[in-house]
Symmetry: C2
Subunit: 156 residues, 2 copies
């Protein structure tokens, strides 16, 4: 299978939302594709520090089927001797195509983009309900060194 990676376009967005929702953990919080997702997409496009990347099958023209996605955020910092960080979020591979190494290619591509942006550390969090994902990230060399915390921000 030939796979290329490119930044997502507006007409990929409904498919990306579908990929993000096609997951036991995420489904209950994904929402149906709509204006809120478009606003999120436009904000990513407007940000110099964020890329929404898709994996495309048979993508010579870049117009093949979208089979995976991820969001990358490049974060400057003071900690760790001024290190830039790559934050990886919303990593998904089409459920019908898992176990074929596509996730690994996606993550390697994430790391390439991070290095190109001067990042010396990659970081991500994964829901405690996803032991398979944890094994996958450990297999890529990630250290499972941190606890991840989330808090909804109520309107003030």
């Amino acid at each position: 299978m030939d796979i290329i990676f490119r930044e997502a376009r507006r007409d990929d967005l409904s498919r990306v939302v579908e990929l993000i929702a096609d997951d036991a953990v995420a489904a209950r919080r994904a929402g149906t594709f709509g204006a809120a997702h478009v606003r999120g997409f436009e904000a990513i496009q407007a940000s110099p520090d964020n890329d929404l990347v898709v994996a495309v099958r048979d993508g010579g023209s870049g117009d093949g089927e979208v089979i995976g996605c991820m969001q990358l955020t490049y974060i400057p910092g003071i900690s760790r001797n001024g290190a830039g960080r790559l934050l990886v979020e919303a990593v998904r591979v089409d459920a019908a195509l898992r176990g074929q190494g596509i996730g690994r290619l996606l993550m390697e591509h994430a790391h390439e983009r991070g290095r190109a942006r001067g990042c010396v550390l990659a970081q991500l969090t994964s829901d405690k309900q996803r032991p398979d994902a944890h094994r996958f990230y450990r297999s890529l060399g990630y250290q499972q060194s941190h606890e991840g915390f989330k808090l909804p921000l109520e309107r003030g």
Copy 2:
């Protein structure tokens, strides 16, 4: 104690590096204050999506002693119905002043800034070697729902 919060200035930077390093977990990876920290600071200042915030004591003029710091990153997204996220990193309070509620004020200020930027979720990770920090974040209402992973990115 009167405390104000403001964005860090260049002349706060050596103190911020000192705060970040004054910690059993971070000390071994902090590095001595130098050019790499200045580059990190300049990159934060240049980014519309990042704030380095300091807590200042007796700060009517904004020139009091820096007693705490944190970095905030505002991240647009597709997941969770297009939610904007607030990422909080490098939270530190002067070791001599811990246990007085300064960390709580710092985090409440982080959440205010996040809401002002349209973020509906705050997230952070904390080293598994910091059980006191975990208790603190839980006391603020954070759910300890995720595993946090880190990977150094070798030069390609």
